[in-house]
Symmetry: C2
Subunit: 410 residues, 2 copies
């Protein structure tokens, strides 16, 4: 592991110094190479798929694992989109001159060596590698073990393009062993790593948070809420709530708990119930809700659960304060939304809810790099420091101060 | 400890919501209270000073510990300066509208509950408490045990002002027990704390980094370098090098190692030697340096040492590349400077040296919040993420996205 990390660290200066032109050429060549080597990728993906069938992995995981010609075209296009992003390095973020004439410039620079721990989707491999390359960072990838062959194939193709362009292959590397011990030894290498980004399950995040000495930007679960206020437009409230839960229940920005003001519960619950039935959504609800509609009761545990499935909790609240309090206790700090036409209530909600993304009158489903206009994304940070919410290419940079003097002494 | 942290967490929303006017009034009242209670502070400081004498603490530490009337006036003025800073909260950092009409605003908000672990100087207590208050954060202070009585007195005065203004006293609290165990149990409270800022010795920083589950912004040692290039103006080179080492050797932004290009070693070393002798600076040097001036030889360990004293390492290097390489190995990432008139050499140095502050033709001594125009500072961050270099009041904020819609669904 140490030898491996030493090589990665050595490549740091090289990648940081590449010009935009060289980086973009490499990204375009990588995009082409993925298409040219499409069959090679699919062959390797088939190995993963066979093992997935043997291991009896869920339909959902198998779907995430699968690579088709079409999906590989999407991966290739993502690289071209990343090439088209504005250069993230050497942006002058701020600049001023102080009394003694020193000119201070705050300039964006790469973070250095970034390790990303992620789950089953093999397209993340090329997305994240490309985002790191664009932002001048060395990346160390640790994909899900069920995607081993696919990830190895994709990484090999990307590294070949680096080599052809006389750039160290160590700029992109995949951790060969896929066990938890590899993670455990990785996260304490603060001599070599500048950042760890864990994406995935709650247990992984907790483990990394507890044991890492390397700085962590965590991509935790999405336990998202929507609050239907007493001053909500009823049509908007129903349409947006159904969308936030049902449009794609298995993703992190889908709603898990719906809070409804007591004054509108009687009007909103029956039509919501009807629509949720049509969408085959399972409802778990508080006692008050169950006086209006005939559904299962929710436990305290349910409010703590990210279902990633077509299940929703419904709770009636006294007012916006109780909604905010509930959210600040149960939320994972990802995305929350209020539906209301009341100016002051909206402001209160947006100010007091302590989450990365707080919406007024829109679905929580917009929390992603694409919807935010960032192009590709590393993921959704639930950190409070450095990067929060959709993490784009600019969030993969840090800064230094360059200070220009002409002999100043103190 | 948990009860203590629960109370602090509870105060988070209250302080975050205070208006600029209320916060500034409190800061001005605190500034007045420090002056009014000057004798009470000095009485308590005398207890610390007596214990310091009994414990045989160094002259240096005793000087840092001492509070005089004049120093208390400085502390009071610092609070007024912090009140005068621009409001750091609710700045719109960025904003745009995406295709579907969603208006996204990136807005600065407080970080939450911040624990600061610091060393002997009691003025840090009021500085840091005021910076946290101004930025809407709850602070938990853990000062040096040698300043126990002084810190308790200062905190009590500040908390009384909070109380008089009907603000929870828990917004500012001082950890009562001062042992290492208190630190150990503090840094794993990620349920209650949003950030830990350790200022101080290498051992403390290492301990916190290794064991914390709360995010850390470290204020590590300052192992700063200066490189005198072959194209340096000789007068500037000598004046700036002497200033960087001798003006105040005990601080983190003082130079520890001076690197000199081999082509100018013969011209620069004898006059530097002469000036360093006048300043009573002890010199430790490489073999090559010792062919020009008669000084002690430096060990590898010396290049790793932050002297905080009037001692300097001198090393002759082949070229700017060797200087950059030396710095990137031995530096703590704080501040480095190049003295040169060569445009390309300066650019290379500023680009390739991986430190928070990189200077051209100026003393490293300018790395502080005041010199940068930030007013007061929390310290000098040697982190690479979130805050780097002088950490001002804006660095005590994070952000959220507020997203304004009118019915958008996905």
């Amino acid at each position: 592991m140490i030898e491996f990390l030493k090589k990665a660290k050595k490549a740091k200066k090289e990648i940081a110094m590449l010009t935009t032109e060289v980086k973009n050429n490499i990204l375009f060549e990588m995009a082409d190479a993925l298409i040219e080597e499409c069959n090679y990728i699919i062959e390797n993906n088939e190995k993963d798929m066979s093992e997935a069938i043997l291991s009896n992995l869920s339909k959902d995981i198998k779907d995430r694992l699968l690579l088709t010609g079409e999906r590989i075209v999407d991966m290739s296009n993502a690289l071209k989109e990343i090439a088209a992003l504005k250069e993230p390095i050497n942006r002058v973020l701020d600049g001023w001159t102080v009394q003694n004439g020193l000119n201070i410039q705050k300039v964006s620079i790469p973070i250095g060596v970034i390790a990303i721990i992620y789950e089953s989707r093999p397209n993340v491999t090329s997305d994240v590698a490309a985002l790191c390359l664009k932002s001048g960072n060395v990346c160390i990838l640790k994909g899900g073990k069920e995607a081993k062959h696919s990830n190895q194939a994709i990484t090999k193709i990307l590294r070949n393009v680096l080599e052809k362009n006389n750039v160290s292959k160590e700029v992109i590397s995949l951790i060969p062993n896929n066990d938890r011990e590899a993670v455990a030894s990785l996260i304490i290498q603060d001599k070599y790593l500048d950042l760890i980004i864990p994406r995935g399950g709650e247990e992984l995040i907790k483990f990394v948070n507890k044991n890492a000495s390397v700085p962590v930007i965590k991509h935790d679960k999405g336990l998202c809420h929507m609050y239907l206020d007493k001053d909500a437009n009823h049509n908007k409230a129903i349409t947006i709530a159904i969308n936030a839960k049902c449009q794609r229940p298995g993703v992190c920005n889908a709603m898990e708990t719906l809070l409804i003001h007591k004054d509108v519960a009687a009007y909103l619950l029956p039509p919501l119930h009807e629509k949720f039935i049509k969408e085959k959504t399972q409802i778990k609800a508080c006692t008050e809700t169950r006086t209006y509609i005939d559904v299962q009761s929710a436990t305290l545990e349910d409010y703590h659960t990210e279902y990633l499935a077509n299940i929703v909790n419904i709770k009636v609240v006294e007012n916006v304060d109780e909604a905010i309090e509930h959210i600040n206790i149960y939320s994972s700090g990802h995305s929350e939304s209020i539906i209301s036409e009341n100016y002051s209530t909206i402001n209160k909600f947006l100010d007091e809810v302590d989450s990365a993304c707080v919406y007024a009158n829109a679905s929580t489903r917009f929390t992603d790099g694409n919807a935010f206009g960032f192009g590709a994304e590393v993921g959704i940070s639930t950190n409070k420091l450095h990067a929060r919410g959709p993490m784009g290419v600019n969030d993969l940079t840090t800064f230094k101060y360059k200070i220009y003097g002409n002999g100043q002494i103190k």
